[in-house]
């Protein structure tokens, strides 16, 4: 057991190290901006005295290394800074300053995005596994070839193309689902699901194609093994051979595939949220990029990168754990 926990701990350490280095990259990138936070907040008509005062208040006159660790400590305490846009809004309207913090903006949107990703995974995982197994079972048949062309096409199409085709057929021509996902607090689960379904279906199309191809490849790889031939020669039905013999051994690659595709969802979510005006973190990210609201961009980037690294780490660790040779070393 010692070897296994050492490997897992090693991977965990590497993941944390990557996260640390990525945070340095993001911080450095943001610091390459011309001007700084003080000028950005005060705008063009700022007097030099006011700029120096704000710099001193925010600690911007400190050297970059000190500022980096200050920022990292704040982030670890859950303080992601103050949004420029919201700070302006608050100072104009005089409303609650609490709302200007990046955390208050990201929090509910993060929950919405997780809901979207959850619904997508709940549809995509069973469907793609079933289709992948069927394609492996009937490989080189008409079904397999049609599936191959369809998955290749949906992998290569941009997300917004799939999204607009779904809108055209499911929302405009046959009004079954709403084409805009205006989700708000206190919405019933049923209504929420209905509004989330179209973006979730779009993401499902993209992710299913990937997962299905990978599942098919993993199972076909296994079907060449001698024990499968043995099972077949015993007279087992092809379905039973796959479900009883191939599937348990293909579990490791399939778990890997699922985790990798959930990581892929993270980037796909940005475009899809913009198409459906879904109030998630991806849309916030794009909006903030357009108005150069740096603290929000920085925070979103950190969250996306963090989730991506964590899911990849999870895939790594799960594939180690599901390998019996590693779990029971001789």
């Amino acid at each position: 057991m010692g070897a296994l926990s050492r490997i897992v701990l090693h991977r965990l350490f590497l993941g944390l190290l990557t996260l640390f280095v990525v945070s340095i990259v993001i911080f450095t990138a943001v610091n390459m901006l011309p001007g700084d936070f003080a000028q950005a907040i005060l705008g063009q008509g700022a007097t030099p005295e006011a700029v120096t005062a704000i710099r001193r208040d925010l600690g911007l006159d400190q050297p970059p290394v000190t500022r980096y660790f200050q920022w990292l400590a704040d982030v670890l305490h859950g303080d992601l800074g103050t949004s420029f846009a919201q700070a302006n809004f608050v100072s104009f309207t005089g409303s609650d300053a609490e709302k200007a913090s990046v955390l208050a903006q990201i929090g509910p949107r993060f929950a919405n995005t997780m809901f979207l990703a959850g619904v997508t995974a709940a549809i995509a995982v069973p469907v793609s596994l079933t289709l992948g197994i069927l394609a492996a079972l009937y490989r080189n048949s008409a079904f397999d070839k049609v599936a191959n062309v369809f998955t290749l096409s949906s992998i290569s199409s941009p997300e917004f193309f799939l999204a607009y085709i779904l809108i055209l057929f499911l929302a405009v021509l046959n009004p079954l689902l709403p084409s805009l996902s205006n989700i708000y607090d206190g919405m019933g689960l049923g209504e929420r699901l209905e509004k989330t379904l179209l973006p979730a279906l779009t993401l499902t199309l993209v992710v299913t194609a990937h997962m299905m191809r990978m599942t098919r490849a993993a199972i076909i790889n296994l079907l060449a093994s001698p024990y499968i031939e043995m099972a077949r020669l015993k007279g087992m039905s092809p379905m039973r051979v796959i479900v009883r013999h191939a599937l348990p051994n293909a579990l490791a690659p399939i778990i890997n595939v699922i985790a990798l595709n959930l990581a892929y969802l993270i980037t796909g979510v940005v475009v899809v949220e913009v198409v459906f005006v879904y109030p998630g973190i991806g849309q916030l990210f794009v909006d903030s990029v357009k108005i150069r609201d740096i603290p929000v961009v920085q925070a979103c980037c950190l969250i996306f990168a963090g989730a991506y690294i964590l899911l990849n780490l999870l895939a790594d660790i799960l594939s180690i754990l599901s390998n019996p040779r590693l779990r029971h070393p001789k």
Partner: protein
């Protein structure tokens, strides 16, 4: 809910039909039906059902315009691909003839589309009826060219909200979007390929340094990283749209060169241990000779396939960035931006299908090229792996 009930009822009916079909087949006493599994019968029934439904939609449902267009487009492309393959099989030198003889229809379709796009991109200035930045007095002209319903024969696809001809912009989009994506991929390959081969030949600390840097850059999802860097680039570029487009090319090239680096290093690592490299080193050849004369020719096949796939990724990233409004900047015509600007037209699908098809045309133009490149790469990989069906 009704939809779900309907779907379940459909599947149930098909299973029943499949059982009846197999039972009826068994009455004939053929072994094919005796050994048939229910799933296979279900597949047959499903395809028959889909075929009937398609025929019904195509002929009897008046409003299924998009479906009819899709079917017509599919048939036209299939015939064109078949003719193209036939042409390739009977014309030209022996080498290409042999190549075309073993080619599946999907691959010849891919090559045909890539050729069409190349022609469109190179001769956009000649083919487009108007300039891409030319603004006409008539705004929001409907597509179709019928003056009775607000069209104009001079603008077959209509004009946009500030009066630019959409057909011309669609054609120029090939030049800008595809051209920029191609240039970006080239830069990514030059950068990633050179550094990858260098890391593979030199090894040591340079290899370690570059590999760790690439690891870190690859740990951030590429679209997210591109968006972050575009924020900074837009602050640098100020109000010069051309400068921002150049920054975007560089940013995406650097991000994608990390993937090329990985492949080039892996492929190069396998080649540098070969005897002929040892011999070249003993002859006293320089680094440039080693990389370009010894390693590169032996790494062409995987790199070429990677070039196709990388082009697709770059193309999709640029289209997504433009769609999000931070990619290729106006006044350059570009498909991603066009989709975003025209997307509201989709709501008119019931009244004017052609208008609703405008954003889909731009998006479909992107999808068609990536699908085509993928088909060709798929075939190339299949050929070079030596698998013969």
């Amino acid at each position: 809910m009704n939809v779900v009930v309907g779907l379940v009822a459909c599947v149930g009916f098909l299973v029943l039909a499949a059982w009846v079909f197999r039972f009826a087949g068994r009455l004939s006493g053929r072994t094919y039906f005796r050994d048939m599994e229910l799933t296979t019968a279900f597949g047959w029934m499903l395809s028959v059902f889909v075929a009937f439904w398609g025929v019904y939609l195509y002929i009897f449902v008046e409003s299924a315009v998009f479906f009819r267009w899709a079917v017509q487009g599919f048939v036209v492309f299939a015939i064109a691909a078949w003719l193209f393959r036939l042409l390739g099989r009977n014309l030209g030198p022996g080498g290409t003839r042999r190549l075309f003889r073993q080619m599946p229809l999907t691959a010849s379709f891919g090559i045909l589309i890539i050729l069409l796009y190349a022609i469109l991109a190179i001769f956009a200035g000649v083919l487009a009826p108007h300039g891409q930045e030319e603004i006409f007095a008539k705004v929001n002209v409907l597509p179709g060219g019928d003056p009775a319903i607000g069209g104009d024969p001079a603008h077959p696809l209509g004009t946009d909200q500030i009066g630019r001809d959409l057909l011309s912009r669609l054609i120029y989009g090939a030049q800008n979007t595809v051209g920029i994506a191609f240039a970006t991929t080239l830069i990514a390959f030059l950068l990633g390929g050179t550094l990858g081969f260098l890391a593979a030949t030199l090894g040591g600390w340079l290899d370690q340094l570059l590999s760790r840097m690439v690891d870190v850059l690859m740990a951030i999802p590429s679209l997210i990283f591109a968006l972050l860097l575009m924020t900074i680039a837009s602050a640098w570029a100020g109000s010069q749209p051309h400068l921002l487009t150049i920054y975007m090319i560089l940013i995406i090239a650097v991000i994608d060169s990390t993937r090329v680096f990985r492949l080039a290093r892996a492929v190069g690592g396998n080649i540098v241990v070969m005897d002929y490299i040892e011999a070249a080193k003993l002859r006293g050849e320089g680094m440039g000779y080693l990389i370009f004369k010894e390693i590169l020719p032996n790494a062409t096949a995987p790199l070429l396939a990677e070039f196709g796939l990388r082009f697709c990724f770059v193309f999709l990233t640029i289209a997504s960035l433009s769609f999000l409004g931070v990619g290729i900047q106006p006044p350059l015509a570009d498909w991603g931006t066009m989709v975003r600007d025209l997307s509201q037209f989709i709501n008119f699908a019931a009244f004017s299908p052609l208008t609703a098809a405008l954003p889909l045309m731009a998006a479909g133009a992107i999808a068609l090229l990536t699908v085509a490149v993928n088909f060709v790469v798929d075939w190339m990989l299949h050929r070079s792996s030596g698998l013969k069906e």
